[in-house]
Protein backbone atom coordinates (compact mmCIF):
# COMPACT_ATOMS: atom_id res chain seq x y z
CA UNK A 1 0.00 0.00 0.00
CA UNK A 2 1.39 3.31 -0.99
CA UNK A 3 -0.16 6.28 0.62
CA UNK A 4 0.59 9.79 -0.40
CA UNK A 5 -0.62 12.94 -2.02
CA UNK A 6 -0.06 11.81 -5.55
CA UNK A 7 0.30 8.09 -5.05
CA UNK A 8 3.31 6.32 -6.37
CA UNK A 9 2.69 7.01 -9.98
CA UNK A 10 4.94 6.51 -12.90
CA UNK A 11 4.03 8.74 -15.74
CA UNK A 12 6.02 8.46 -18.91
CA UNK A 13 7.51 11.70 -20.08
CA UNK A 14 9.85 12.72 -22.80
CA UNK A 15 13.48 12.48 -21.83
CA UNK A 16 14.80 15.95 -21.27
CA UNK A 17 18.50 15.51 -20.82
CA UNK A 18 20.19 14.72 -24.05
CA UNK A 19 23.65 13.56 -24.80
CA UNK A 20 25.61 12.62 -27.84
CA UNK A 21 24.68 9.04 -27.28
CA UNK A 22 21.06 10.00 -26.92
CA UNK A 23 21.03 11.98 -30.14
CA UNK A 24 22.75 9.22 -32.02
CA UNK A 25 20.39 6.65 -30.64
CA UNK A 26 17.41 8.82 -31.46
CA UNK A 27 18.66 9.34 -34.99
CA UNK A 28 19.23 5.67 -35.33
CA UNK A 29 15.77 4.89 -34.01
CA UNK A 30 14.18 7.35 -36.41
CA UNK A 31 16.16 5.97 -39.30
CA UNK A 32 15.17 2.49 -38.33
CA UNK A 33 11.50 3.35 -38.14
CA UNK A 34 11.69 4.97 -41.56
CA UNK A 35 13.45 1.94 -42.92
CA UNK A 36 10.89 -0.37 -41.40
CA UNK A 37 8.02 1.57 -42.92
CA UNK A 38 9.74 1.54 -46.27
CA UNK A 39 10.28 -2.17 -45.97
CA UNK A 40 6.66 -2.68 -45.05
CA UNK A 41 5.63 -0.88 -48.23
CA UNK A 42 8.05 -2.99 -50.23
CA UNK A 43 6.56 -6.08 -48.71
CA UNK A 44 3.13 -4.94 -49.73
CA UNK A 45 4.33 -4.38 -53.27
CA UNK A 46 6.06 -7.72 -53.31
CA UNK A 47 2.97 -9.54 -52.19
CA UNK A 48 0.82 -7.71 -54.69
CA UNK A 49 3.13 -8.23 -57.63
CA UNK A 50 3.66 -11.83 -56.74
CA UNK A 51 0.00 -12.56 -57.00
CA UNK A 52 -0.49 -10.57 -60.17
CA UNK A 53 2.34 -11.74 -62.31
CA UNK A 54 5.17 -13.75 -60.96
CA UNK A 55 2.96 -16.32 -59.35
CA UNK A 56 2.24 -18.07 -62.61
CA UNK A 57 5.87 -18.45 -63.45
CA UNK A 58 6.77 -19.59 -60.00
CA UNK A 59 3.90 -21.97 -60.05
CA UNK A 60 5.57 -23.96 -62.77
CA UNK A 61 8.85 -24.27 -60.99
CA UNK A 62 7.77 -24.11 -57.43
CA UNK A 63 9.88 -26.13 -55.13
CA UNK A 64 13.23 -26.07 -56.84
CA UNK A 65 13.07 -22.37 -57.52
CA UNK A 66 11.93 -21.63 -54.04
CA UNK A 67 14.73 -23.60 -52.49
CA UNK A 68 17.31 -22.17 -54.84
CA UNK A 69 16.20 -18.62 -54.34
CA UNK A 70 15.99 -19.12 -50.62
CA UNK A 71 19.49 -20.48 -50.35
CA UNK A 72 20.86 -17.76 -52.58
CA UNK A 73 19.09 -15.14 -50.52
CA UNK A 74 20.47 -16.55 -47.34
CA UNK A 75 23.99 -16.66 -48.66
CA UNK A 76 23.81 -13.21 -50.18
CA UNK A 77 22.26 -11.73 -47.09
CA UNK A 78 24.86 -13.26 -44.86
CA UNK A 79 27.66 -11.77 -46.90
CA UNK A 80 25.88 -8.52 -47.53
CA UNK A 81 24.80 -7.76 -44.02
CA UNK A 82 27.62 -9.23 -42.05
CA UNK A 83 29.70 -6.09 -42.23
CA UNK A 84 26.78 -3.73 -42.08
CA UNK A 85 25.31 -5.37 -39.01
CA UNK A 86 28.65 -5.15 -37.29
CA UNK A 87 28.85 -1.50 -38.27
CA UNK A 88 25.52 -0.81 -36.64
CA UNK A 89 26.52 -2.74 -33.57
CA UNK A 90 29.82 -0.99 -33.29
CA UNK A 91 28.31 2.42 -33.85
CA UNK A 92 25.66 1.96 -31.21
CA UNK A 93 28.17 0.64 -28.75
CA UNK A 94 30.51 3.51 -29.45
CA UNK A 95 27.87 6.19 -29.51
CA UNK A 96 28.69 7.05 -33.08
CA UNK A 97 26.22 8.03 -35.75
CA UNK A 98 24.74 5.28 -37.84
CA UNK A 99 24.14 6.10 -41.46
CA UNK A 100 20.78 5.49 -43.02
CA UNK A 101 22.50 3.47 -45.71
CA UNK A 102 24.06 1.12 -43.22
CA UNK A 103 20.79 0.58 -41.44
CA UNK A 104 19.01 0.07 -44.73
CA UNK A 105 21.56 -2.55 -45.71
CA UNK A 106 21.01 -4.42 -42.48
CA UNK A 107 17.26 -4.20 -42.91
CA UNK A 108 17.45 -5.43 -46.48
CA UNK A 109 19.69 -8.28 -45.48
CA UNK A 110 17.36 -9.29 -42.69
CA UNK A 111 14.46 -9.22 -45.11
CA UNK A 112 16.33 -11.42 -47.53
CA UNK A 113 17.17 -13.90 -44.81
CA UNK A 114 13.60 -14.07 -43.61
CA UNK A 115 12.21 -14.46 -47.11
CA UNK A 116 14.91 -16.92 -48.08
CA UNK A 117 14.33 -19.13 -45.10
CA UNK A 118 10.65 -19.15 -45.81
CA UNK A 119 11.16 -20.05 -49.45
CA UNK A 120 13.38 -22.95 -48.50
CA UNK A 121 10.81 -24.23 -46.08
CA UNK A 122 7.98 -24.03 -48.52
CA UNK A 123 10.04 -25.44 -51.36
CA UNK A 124 11.20 -28.34 -49.25
CA UNK A 125 7.68 -29.05 -48.17
CA UNK A 126 6.42 -29.14 -51.77
CA UNK A 127 9.34 -31.21 -52.97
CA UNK A 128 8.87 -33.74 -50.23
CA UNK A 129 5.14 -33.89 -50.78
CA UNK A 130 4.43 -32.83 -47.25
CA UNK A 131 0.92 -32.35 -46.01
CA UNK A 132 -0.40 -28.89 -45.46
CA UNK A 133 -1.89 -29.05 -41.97
CA UNK A 134 -4.39 -26.34 -42.83
CA UNK A 135 -5.92 -28.20 -45.78
CA UNK A 136 -5.04 -31.79 -45.08
CA UNK A 137 -3.73 -31.97 -48.67
CA UNK A 138 -0.26 -32.08 -50.08
CA UNK A 139 1.32 -28.69 -50.33
CA UNK A 140 1.52 -27.61 -53.96
CA UNK A 141 1.90 -23.83 -53.98
CA UNK A 142 4.25 -21.21 -52.70
CA UNK A 143 2.52 -18.71 -50.51
CA UNK A 144 4.21 -15.46 -51.41
CA UNK A 145 2.37 -13.57 -48.75
CA UNK A 146 4.14 -15.70 -46.22
CA UNK A 147 7.44 -15.17 -47.97
CA UNK A 148 6.91 -11.46 -47.82
CA UNK A 149 5.92 -11.57 -44.20
CA UNK A 150 9.01 -13.50 -43.28
CA UNK A 151 11.00 -10.87 -45.11
CA UNK A 152 9.22 -8.12 -43.25
CA UNK A 153 10.02 -9.58 -39.89
CA UNK A 154 13.52 -10.52 -40.84
CA UNK A 155 14.14 -6.95 -41.95
CA UNK A 156 12.70 -5.47 -38.83
CA UNK A 157 14.61 -7.81 -36.62
CA UNK A 158 18.03 -7.45 -38.13
CA UNK A 159 18.96 -3.93 -37.00
CA UNK A 160 17.59 -4.59 -33.55
CA UNK A 161 19.87 -7.52 -33.28
CA UNK A 162 22.74 -5.50 -34.57
CA UNK A 163 22.03 -2.75 -32.11
CA UNK A 164 21.66 -5.23 -29.31
CA UNK A 165 24.97 -6.69 -30.27
CA UNK A 166 26.48 -3.27 -29.87
CA UNK A 167 24.80 -2.55 -26.59
CA UNK A 168 25.36 -5.86 -24.96
CA UNK A 169 27.58 -8.08 -27.03
CA UNK A 170 28.12 -10.60 -24.29
CA UNK A 171 24.45 -11.06 -23.59
CA UNK A 172 23.44 -11.31 -27.18
CA UNK A 173 26.39 -13.48 -27.91
CA UNK A 174 25.18 -16.06 -25.44
CA UNK A 175 21.76 -16.01 -27.00
CA UNK A 176 23.20 -16.20 -30.48
CA UNK A 177 25.34 -19.22 -29.80
CA UNK A 178 22.48 -21.09 -28.23
CA UNK A 179 20.06 -20.02 -30.88
CA UNK A 180 22.20 -20.91 -33.84
CA UNK A 181 22.98 -24.25 -32.35
CA UNK A 182 19.35 -25.12 -31.91
CA UNK A 183 18.57 -23.70 -35.31
CA UNK A 184 21.04 -26.11 -36.81
CA UNK A 185 19.19 -28.98 -35.25
CA UNK A 186 15.93 -27.70 -36.59
CA UNK A 187 17.39 -27.21 -40.02
CA UNK A 188 18.60 -30.77 -40.02
CA UNK A 189 15.13 -31.91 -39.10
CA UNK A 190 13.49 -29.84 -41.77
CA UNK A 191 15.73 -31.03 -44.55
CA UNK A 192 15.83 -34.69 -43.61
CA UNK A 193 12.49 -35.25 -42.03
CA UNK A 194 14.21 -36.77 -39.05
CA UNK A 195 13.23 -35.99 -35.53
CA UNK A 196 16.63 -35.38 -34.17
CA UNK A 197 16.34 -34.01 -30.65
CA UNK A 198 13.06 -32.24 -31.11
CA UNK A 199 11.00 -35.42 -31.40
CA UNK A 200 8.60 -33.64 -33.68
CA UNK A 201 7.48 -34.59 -37.12
CA UNK A 202 8.75 -31.86 -39.41
CA UNK A 203 6.22 -30.04 -41.54
CA UNK A 204 3.16 -31.47 -39.99
CA UNK A 205 3.47 -30.77 -36.33
CA UNK A 206 4.08 -27.91 -34.07
CA UNK A 207 7.54 -26.38 -34.03
CA UNK A 208 8.72 -27.57 -37.40
CA UNK A 209 8.71 -24.21 -39.10
CA UNK A 210 10.74 -22.51 -36.52
CA UNK A 211 13.85 -24.32 -37.64
CA UNK A 212 14.83 -22.71 -40.88
CA UNK A 213 13.53 -19.36 -39.91
CA UNK A 214 15.64 -19.68 -36.81
CA UNK A 215 18.68 -19.89 -38.98
CA UNK A 216 17.92 -16.66 -40.70
CA UNK A 217 16.92 -14.81 -37.65
CA UNK A 218 19.54 -16.11 -35.34
CA UNK A 219 22.26 -15.68 -37.86
CA UNK A 220 21.25 -12.13 -38.47
CA UNK A 221 20.24 -10.89 -35.12
CA UNK A 222 20.47 -13.46 -32.39
CA UNK A 223 17.09 -12.31 -31.18
CA UNK A 224 14.64 -15.08 -31.75
CA UNK A 225 11.52 -13.59 -30.29
CA UNK A 226 10.66 -11.79 -33.48
CA UNK A 227 9.80 -15.12 -34.92
CA UNK A 228 6.23 -14.76 -33.90
CA UNK A 229 3.91 -13.23 -36.42
CA UNK A 230 1.99 -10.02 -36.53
CA UNK A 231 -1.43 -9.47 -35.09
CA UNK A 232 -3.30 -12.60 -34.20
CA UNK A 233 -1.36 -14.75 -36.62
CA UNK A 234 1.24 -17.18 -35.55
CA UNK A 235 3.26 -17.57 -38.65
CA UNK A 236 5.72 -20.18 -37.71
CA UNK A 237 4.37 -22.58 -35.19
CA UNK A 238 2.21 -25.21 -36.74
CA UNK A 239 2.89 -23.93 -40.19
CA UNK A 240 -0.67 -22.90 -40.83
CA UNK A 241 0.22 -19.51 -42.03
CA UNK A 242 2.55 -21.00 -44.60
CA UNK A 243 0.06 -23.15 -46.36
CA UNK A 244 -3.43 -22.36 -45.28
CA UNK A 245 -6.17 -21.03 -47.45
CA UNK A 246 -7.09 -18.75 -44.62
CA UNK A 247 -3.68 -17.20 -44.80
CA UNK A 248 -4.10 -16.59 -48.49
CA UNK A 249 -7.52 -15.10 -48.04
CA UNK A 250 -6.37 -12.87 -45.27
CA UNK A 251 -3.24 -11.62 -46.88
CA UNK A 252 -4.53 -8.09 -47.05
CA UNK A 253 -5.59 -8.11 -43.46
CA UNK A 254 -2.31 -9.59 -42.44
CA UNK A 255 -0.38 -6.89 -44.17
CA UNK A 256 -2.41 -4.35 -42.32
CA UNK A 257 -1.52 -6.10 -39.12
CA UNK A 258 2.07 -6.16 -40.20
CA UNK A 259 1.95 -2.43 -40.79
CA UNK A 260 0.63 -1.85 -37.30
CA UNK A 261 3.24 -4.19 -35.94
CA UNK A 262 5.84 -2.09 -37.63
CA UNK A 263 4.55 1.01 -35.98
CA UNK A 264 4.61 -0.73 -32.63
CA UNK A 265 7.98 -2.15 -33.43
CA UNK A 266 9.28 1.27 -34.31
CA UNK A 267 8.36 2.53 -30.89
CA UNK A 268 9.87 -0.45 -29.22
CA UNK A 269 13.00 -0.22 -31.28
CA UNK A 270 13.32 3.42 -30.34
CA UNK A 271 12.94 2.54 -26.68
CA UNK A 272 15.34 -0.28 -27.12
CA UNK A 273 17.95 1.87 -28.77
CA UNK A 274 17.50 4.57 -26.18
CA UNK A 275 18.42 2.11 -23.50
CA UNK A 276 16.99 2.71 -20.06
CA UNK A 277 13.78 0.98 -19.29
CA UNK A 278 13.27 -1.45 -22.12
CA UNK A 279 16.74 -2.37 -23.14
CA UNK A 280 15.96 -5.97 -22.54
CA UNK A 281 12.80 -7.88 -21.84
CA UNK A 282 11.30 -7.19 -18.45
CA UNK A 283 13.05 -9.91 -16.54
CA UNK A 284 16.42 -9.25 -18.08
CA UNK A 285 16.28 -12.54 -19.92
CA UNK A 286 17.03 -13.13 -23.54
CA UNK A 287 14.96 -15.94 -25.01
CA UNK A 288 16.83 -18.75 -26.62
CA UNK A 289 14.98 -21.36 -28.62
CA UNK A 290 15.19 -24.81 -27.16
CA UNK A 291 14.22 -27.88 -29.02
CA UNK A 292 12.54 -25.93 -31.75
CA UNK A 293 9.87 -24.87 -29.31
CA UNK A 294 10.75 -21.26 -29.01
CA UNK A 295 7.68 -19.73 -30.54
CA UNK A 296 4.72 -18.51 -28.58
CA UNK A 297 1.53 -20.31 -29.44
CA UNK A 298 -0.18 -17.00 -29.98
CA UNK A 299 1.21 -13.59 -30.51
CA UNK A 300 0.24 -11.19 -27.73
CA UNK A 301 -1.86 -8.30 -28.86
CA UNK A 302 0.18 -5.46 -27.52
CA UNK A 303 3.68 -6.59 -28.28
CA UNK A 304 5.39 -5.79 -31.48
CA UNK A 305 7.27 -8.46 -33.31
CA UNK A 306 10.65 -7.65 -31.92
CA UNK A 307 10.78 -7.11 -28.23
CA UNK A 308 8.55 -9.95 -27.30
CA UNK A 309 8.06 -11.70 -24.07
CA UNK A 310 10.54 -14.27 -22.83
CA UNK A 311 9.42 -17.71 -23.87
CA UNK A 312 9.86 -21.20 -22.70
CA UNK A 313 13.43 -22.21 -22.75
CA UNK A 314 14.81 -18.83 -21.91
CA UNK A 315 18.33 -18.40 -20.78
CA UNK A 316 18.84 -16.03 -17.93
CA UNK A 317 21.61 -13.65 -18.73
CA UNK A 318 21.28 -11.39 -15.75
CA UNK A 319 19.11 -10.52 -12.84
CA UNK A 320 17.49 -7.22 -13.31
CA UNK A 321 17.02 -4.91 -10.41
CA UNK A 322 17.70 -7.36 -7.64
CA UNK A 323 16.14 -5.80 -4.62
CA UNK A 324 15.56 -8.95 -2.70
CA UNK A 325 16.78 -7.95 0.72
CA UNK A 326 15.27 -4.56 0.54
CA UNK A 327 11.94 -5.90 -0.53
CA UNK A 328 11.90 -8.33 2.32
CA UNK A 329 12.49 -5.59 4.78
CA UNK A 330 9.76 -3.49 3.33
CA UNK A 331 7.22 -6.21 3.05
CA UNK A 332 7.94 -7.43 6.50
CA UNK A 333 7.69 -3.97 7.92
CA UNK A 334 11.05 -4.44 9.57
CA UNK A 335 11.95 -0.82 9.40
CA UNK A 336 14.84 -1.06 11.81
CA UNK A 337 16.69 -3.73 9.94
CA UNK A 338 19.48 -2.66 7.63
CA UNK A 339 18.29 -1.85 4.17
CA UNK A 340 20.52 -3.12 1.42
CA UNK A 341 21.56 -0.38 -0.88
CA UNK A 342 20.91 -1.42 -4.42
CA UNK A 343 20.30 0.62 -7.47
CA UNK A 344 17.66 -1.49 -9.10
CA UNK A 345 19.53 -1.01 -12.31
CA UNK A 346 18.10 -2.94 -15.19
CA UNK A 347 19.91 -5.59 -17.08
CA UNK A 348 22.40 -7.49 -15.11
CA UNK A 349 21.62 -6.39 -11.61
CA UNK A 350 24.50 -4.03 -11.42
CA UNK A 351 24.80 -2.70 -7.95
CA UNK A 352 25.59 0.94 -7.76
CA UNK A 353 24.54 3.90 -5.77
CA UNK A 354 25.06 6.11 -8.77
CA UNK A 355 22.56 6.70 -11.54
CA UNK A 356 23.26 5.28 -14.93
CA UNK A 357 24.34 7.84 -17.43
CA UNK A 358 22.45 6.42 -20.34
CA UNK A 359 19.43 8.00 -21.89
CA UNK A 360 16.26 7.24 -20.06
CA UNK A 361 17.82 7.83 -16.71
CA UNK A 362 16.43 11.30 -16.57
CA UNK A 363 13.05 12.87 -16.49
CA UNK A 364 10.96 9.77 -16.24
CA UNK A 365 8.10 9.30 -13.90
CA UNK A 366 7.41 12.98 -13.79
CA UNK A 367 4.46 13.75 -11.60
CA UNK A 368 2.76 16.98 -12.45
CA UNK A 369 -0.44 16.20 -10.67
CA UNK A 370 0.00 19.27 -8.56
CA UNK A 371 1.06 21.59 -11.28
CA UNK A 372 -0.54 24.93 -11.77
CA UNK A 373 -0.06 27.75 -14.14
CA UNK A 374 2.48 29.60 -12.10
CA UNK A 375 5.19 27.06 -12.63
CA UNK A 376 4.03 26.05 -16.04
CA UNK A 377 4.08 29.50 -17.60
CA UNK A 378 7.65 30.15 -16.64
CA UNK A 379 6.72 33.59 -15.32
CA UNK A 380 8.58 34.65 -12.25
CA UNK A 381 6.50 35.00 -9.14
CA UNK A 382 6.37 37.97 -6.79
CA UNK A 383 8.49 35.96 -4.38
CA UNK A 384 11.09 35.41 -7.08
CA UNK A 385 11.17 39.14 -7.73
CA UNK A 386 11.74 39.74 -4.03
CA UNK A 387 14.65 37.34 -4.00
CA UNK A 388 16.19 39.09 -7.00
CA UNK A 389 15.87 42.40 -5.22
CA UNK A 390 17.45 41.03 -2.04
CA UNK A 391 20.24 39.51 -4.06
CA UNK A 392 20.91 42.82 -5.77
CA UNK A 393 21.09 44.53 -2.40
CA UNK A 394 23.20 41.76 -0.85
CA UNK A 395 20.50 41.12 1.71
CA UNK A 396 20.56 37.38 1.26
CA UNK A 397 23.19 34.72 0.59
CA UNK A 398 23.37 31.03 -0.21
CA UNK A 399 21.91 28.88 -2.95
CA UNK A 400 19.69 31.47 -4.59
CA UNK A 401 19.64 29.66 -7.91
CA UNK A 402 18.03 26.66 -6.30
CA UNK A 403 15.52 28.85 -4.49
CA UNK A 404 14.55 30.64 -7.70
CA UNK A 405 14.10 27.35 -9.44
CA UNK A 406 11.80 26.10 -6.71
CA UNK A 407 9.79 29.31 -6.74
CA UNK A 408 8.96 28.57 -10.36
CA UNK A 409 8.55 24.84 -9.92
CA UNK A 410 5.64 23.17 -11.68
CA UNK A 411 5.18 21.11 -8.53
CA UNK A 412 2.78 22.88 -6.24
CA UNK A 413 4.23 21.57 -3.00
CA UNK A 414 7.76 22.40 -4.05
CA UNK A 415 6.76 25.91 -5.06
CA UNK A 416 4.62 26.73 -2.02
CA UNK A 417 7.36 25.41 0.24
CA UNK A 418 9.80 27.81 -1.41
CA UNK A 419 7.36 30.69 -0.98
CA UNK A 420 7.07 29.87 2.71
CA UNK A 421 10.84 29.99 2.87
CA UNK A 422 10.83 33.41 1.24
CA UNK A 423 8.41 34.71 3.86
CA UNK A 424 10.77 33.46 6.53
CA UNK A 425 13.69 35.20 4.81
CA UNK A 426 11.69 38.37 4.57
CA UNK A 427 11.01 38.36 8.29
CA UNK A 428 14.69 37.92 9.02
CA UNK A 429 15.72 40.63 6.59
CA UNK A 430 13.27 42.97 8.31
CA UNK A 431 15.03 42.09 11.54
CA UNK A 432 18.32 43.19 10.05
CA UNK A 433 19.66 39.70 9.41
CA UNK A 434 21.26 38.43 6.20
CA UNK A 435 19.71 34.98 5.87
CA UNK A 436 21.39 32.16 4.00
CA UNK A 437 19.43 29.96 1.61
CA UNK A 438 20.56 26.49 2.54
CA UNK A 439 19.41 24.70 -0.58
CA UNK A 440 20.07 21.03 -0.06
CA UNK A 441 22.21 21.43 3.02
CA UNK A 442 21.32 19.13 5.85
CA UNK A 443 19.54 20.35 8.91
CA UNK A 444 16.53 22.46 9.73
CA UNK A 445 15.42 25.19 7.36
CA UNK A 446 16.96 27.82 9.62
CA UNK A 447 19.15 27.47 12.62
CA UNK A 448 16.66 26.81 15.37
CA UNK A 449 13.57 27.12 13.18
CA UNK A 450 11.82 24.54 11.03
CA UNK A 451 9.28 25.74 8.47
CA UNK A 452 6.12 23.76 7.77
CA UNK A 453 3.71 25.13 5.20
CA UNK A 454 0.22 24.25 4.03
CA UNK A 455 -0.75 23.71 0.40
CA UNK A 456 -4.50 23.34 0.77
CA UNK A 457 -7.22 24.85 2.95
CA UNK A 458 -8.50 22.66 5.75
CA UNK A 459 -11.77 20.92 5.07
CA UNK A 460 -12.58 20.65 8.78
CA UNK A 461 -11.10 21.08 12.22
CA UNK A 462 -10.07 17.46 12.52
CA UNK A 463 -8.03 17.72 9.36
CA UNK A 464 -6.31 20.81 10.74
CA UNK A 465 -5.66 18.98 13.98
CA UNK A 466 -4.11 16.05 12.15
CA UNK A 467 -1.97 18.38 10.06
CA UNK A 468 -0.64 20.25 13.07
CA UNK A 469 0.09 17.01 14.89
CA UNK A 470 1.87 15.50 11.91
CA UNK A 471 3.98 18.54 11.02
CA UNK A 472 4.93 19.37 14.59
CA UNK A 473 5.98 15.77 15.08
CA UNK A 474 8.07 15.93 11.91
CA UNK A 475 9.83 19.07 13.11
CA UNK A 476 10.35 17.55 16.52
CA UNK A 477 11.85 14.47 14.93
CA UNK A 478 14.22 16.68 12.96
CA UNK A 479 15.45 18.37 16.12
CA UNK A 480 15.72 15.05 17.90
CA UNK A 481 17.99 13.64 15.20
CA UNK A 482 20.13 16.77 15.28
CA UNK A 483 20.26 16.81 19.05
CA UNK A 484 19.04 20.39 19.16
CA UNK A 485 15.87 22.27 20.03
CA UNK A 486 14.04 25.07 18.28
CA UNK A 487 10.83 26.50 17.00
CA UNK A 488 8.50 25.29 14.32
CA UNK A 489 6.83 27.86 12.11
CA UNK A 490 3.57 26.73 10.59
CA UNK A 491 3.05 28.93 7.56
CA UNK A 492 -0.54 28.62 6.43
CA UNK A 493 0.07 30.79 3.39
CA UNK A 494 -3.22 31.50 1.72
CA UNK A 495 -4.66 28.26 3.01
CA UNK A 496 -5.38 29.41 6.56
CA UNK A 497 -9.06 28.54 6.57
CA UNK A 498 -11.00 25.74 8.16
CA UNK A 499 -14.17 24.91 6.29
CA UNK A 500 -14.02 28.38 4.77
CA UNK A 501 -13.49 30.22 8.05
CA UNK A 502 -10.26 32.11 8.64
CA UNK A 503 -8.19 30.55 11.39
CA UNK A 504 -8.16 32.72 14.50
CA UNK A 505 -5.65 32.95 17.28
CA UNK A 506 -7.85 30.82 19.54
CA UNK A 507 -8.28 28.18 16.90
CA UNK A 508 -4.53 28.06 16.26
CA UNK A 509 -3.79 27.89 19.98
CA UNK A 510 -6.19 25.01 20.42
CA UNK A 511 -4.65 23.12 17.52
CA UNK A 512 -1.16 23.60 18.91
CA UNK A 513 -2.26 22.58 22.38
CA UNK A 514 -3.93 19.43 21.11
CA UNK A 515 -0.96 18.52 18.96
CA UNK A 516 1.55 18.85 21.77
CA UNK A 517 -0.61 17.06 24.32
CA UNK A 518 0.03 13.62 22.89
CA UNK A 519 2.84 11.51 21.53
CA UNK A 520 5.58 13.58 23.12
CA UNK A 521 5.56 15.56 19.88
CA UNK A 522 6.93 18.74 21.36
CA UNK A 523 9.85 17.38 23.35
CA UNK A 524 12.38 19.43 21.37
CA UNK A 525 10.05 22.24 20.31
CA UNK A 526 10.55 25.49 22.14
CA UNK A 527 7.68 27.29 20.48
CA UNK A 528 5.13 26.93 17.70
CA UNK A 529 4.61 29.98 15.52
CA UNK A 530 1.56 30.08 13.26
CA UNK A 531 1.63 32.69 10.50
CA UNK A 532 -0.50 33.57 7.49
CA UNK A 533 0.46 34.29 3.89
CA UNK A 534 1.45 37.84 4.71
CA UNK A 535 3.84 36.74 7.38
CA UNK A 536 1.46 37.96 10.05
CA UNK A 537 1.76 35.97 13.26
CA UNK A 538 -1.56 34.35 14.19
CA UNK A 539 -0.30 32.56 17.26
CA UNK A 540 2.95 31.95 19.15
CA UNK A 541 3.37 29.55 22.02
CA UNK A 542 2.95 25.96 23.06
CA UNK A 543 -0.79 25.97 23.47
CA UNK A 544 -0.82 27.13 27.06
Amino acid sequence: VLAGAGGITANATEPQKKSGWFDNAMNFGNTLVSGAKSLGQSALDLGSNAYKGAANWVNEHKADIAIGVGIAALAAATILTGGAALAVAGAVAGGAAVSAGTVATVVAGGAAVGAGANLIQQGAAIKDGKIDPATGQKKTDINFGDVAMSGVYGGALAPVGAAALGLAPAVVGVAAVGGIGVSGVNAYNNFTGNNFLTNNNPYNTKNNWSGMADIGNMGMSALPFAMKGGGDKNWFTGGKAFFGKDAMAQTGKTFQQAGQSFLNAGDKVTNFILGGNNKFPPTGMIPVPVGGGMMPTQAPNNYGPMLGKPQMGTTAVGQSGNIGNTTNNVVGGLKNEPLQSTSGASGGGQQSSKPSKGAGSQSQGKDNTQSNTSGATGKTSASADKVNEWKKNNQITGDLKDLQKRLNSPDKGNRLGAEAEVRAYEQRIKNGEIPEVQGNKAGTDFSGDEIKARTEPFANEKQAKNFFADRIKKANSQYTKQGTTGTVTIDLGTQGTIDGKIMTKDMAQKLVQQSLSKGNRGSEITEVVVIDGNGKVIYTGKGE
Binding site: A5, T283, G333, S363
Partner: protein, 100 residues
Protein backbone atom coordinates in the same frame (compact mmCIF):
# COMPACT_ATOMS: atom_id res chain seq x y z
CA UNK B 1 13.92 18.54 5.52
CA UNK B 2 15.54 18.68 2.14
CA UNK B 3 17.00 16.13 -0.22
CA UNK B 4 18.84 16.54 -3.48
CA UNK B 5 17.68 13.86 -5.87
CA UNK B 6 20.23 11.98 -7.95
CA UNK B 7 18.73 13.72 -10.97
CA UNK B 8 19.57 17.07 -9.39
CA UNK B 9 16.05 18.01 -8.42
CA UNK B 10 15.45 19.59 -5.03
CA UNK B 11 13.00 17.78 -2.80
CA UNK B 12 11.67 18.93 0.53
CA UNK B 13 8.75 18.39 2.83
CA UNK B 14 8.27 22.01 3.82
CA UNK B 15 4.79 22.28 2.36
CA UNK B 16 2.12 19.69 2.89
CA UNK B 17 0.23 17.93 1.40
CA UNK B 18 2.90 17.49 -1.23
CA UNK B 19 3.78 15.12 -4.03
CA UNK B 20 7.07 14.07 -2.45
CA UNK B 21 6.16 12.32 0.79
CA UNK B 22 4.59 8.88 0.71
CA UNK B 23 4.17 6.04 3.13
CA UNK B 24 4.98 2.46 2.24
CA UNK B 25 2.87 0.07 4.25
CA UNK B 26 3.47 -3.64 4.09
CA UNK B 27 0.62 -6.08 4.51
CA UNK B 28 1.57 -6.96 8.10
CA UNK B 29 2.02 -3.28 8.86
CA UNK B 30 -1.39 -2.54 7.46
CA UNK B 31 -2.97 -4.98 9.88
CA UNK B 32 -0.98 -3.59 12.75
CA UNK B 33 -2.03 -0.10 11.79
CA UNK B 34 -5.67 -1.12 11.71
CA UNK B 35 -5.38 -2.60 15.17
CA UNK B 36 -3.75 0.52 16.57
CA UNK B 37 -6.44 2.74 15.11
CA UNK B 38 -9.23 0.48 16.26
CA UNK B 39 -7.82 0.29 19.77
CA UNK B 40 -7.57 4.06 20.11
CA UNK B 41 -11.00 4.57 18.68
CA UNK B 42 -12.41 2.07 21.15
CA UNK B 43 -10.63 3.76 24.04
CA UNK B 44 -11.07 7.45 23.18
CA UNK B 45 -13.84 7.61 20.63
CA UNK B 46 -11.60 9.36 18.07
CA UNK B 47 -8.14 9.11 16.58
CA UNK B 48 -5.54 11.66 17.65
CA UNK B 49 -2.45 9.56 17.21
CA UNK B 50 -2.34 9.27 13.43
CA UNK B 51 1.38 10.10 13.09
CA UNK B 52 2.29 7.65 15.82
CA UNK B 53 0.11 4.90 14.44
CA UNK B 54 1.74 5.10 11.02
CA UNK B 55 5.14 5.06 12.64
CA UNK B 56 4.45 2.32 15.17
CA UNK B 57 2.86 0.11 12.54
CA UNK B 58 6.18 0.05 10.70
CA UNK B 59 5.31 2.13 7.68
CA UNK B 60 8.28 3.48 5.79
CA UNK B 61 8.57 7.07 4.69
CA UNK B 62 9.20 7.18 0.95
CA UNK B 63 10.11 10.31 -0.94
CA UNK B 64 9.41 10.42 -4.63
CA UNK B 65 11.15 12.78 -6.99
CA UNK B 66 8.53 14.52 -9.06
CA UNK B 67 11.00 14.99 -11.88
CA UNK B 68 12.54 11.57 -12.42
CA UNK B 69 10.28 9.35 -10.34
CA UNK B 70 13.04 7.96 -8.14
CA UNK B 71 11.93 6.62 -4.80
CA UNK B 72 13.90 7.11 -1.62
CA UNK B 73 12.95 4.51 0.94
CA UNK B 74 13.25 5.60 4.55
CA UNK B 75 14.20 9.02 3.20
CA UNK B 76 14.03 10.65 6.61
CA UNK B 77 15.98 7.92 8.35
CA UNK B 78 19.66 7.11 8.56
CA UNK B 79 21.34 8.48 5.45
CA UNK B 80 23.43 5.38 4.95
CA UNK B 81 20.39 3.15 4.88
CA UNK B 82 18.23 5.09 2.48
CA UNK B 83 17.44 2.90 -0.54
CA UNK B 84 17.02 4.57 -3.90
CA UNK B 85 14.85 3.05 -6.60
CA UNK B 86 14.88 4.23 -10.16
CA UNK B 87 12.12 3.47 -12.63
CA UNK B 88 13.03 0.38 -14.56
CA UNK B 89 10.19 0.09 -17.01
CA UNK B 90 6.56 0.89 -17.61
CA UNK B 91 4.07 -1.91 -17.88
CA UNK B 92 4.66 -5.59 -17.53
CA UNK B 93 4.57 -8.56 -19.82
CA UNK B 94 0.98 -9.78 -20.19
CA UNK B 95 2.07 -13.20 -18.98
CA UNK B 96 4.00 -11.87 -16.01
CA UNK B 97 0.96 -12.11 -13.79
CA UNK B 98 -2.53 -13.51 -13.80
CA UNK B 99 -4.99 -11.33 -15.73
CA UNK B 100 -6.73 -9.96 -12.64
Amino acid sequence: MRLKCLCGNHLDNIASPNSVEHLLVSDPSKEKFQNLVDDELKENGEIDMWPEHWENAGSIVVWKCFECGRLYLDAEGDKDKVVVYKIEQYGIDPDARSPF
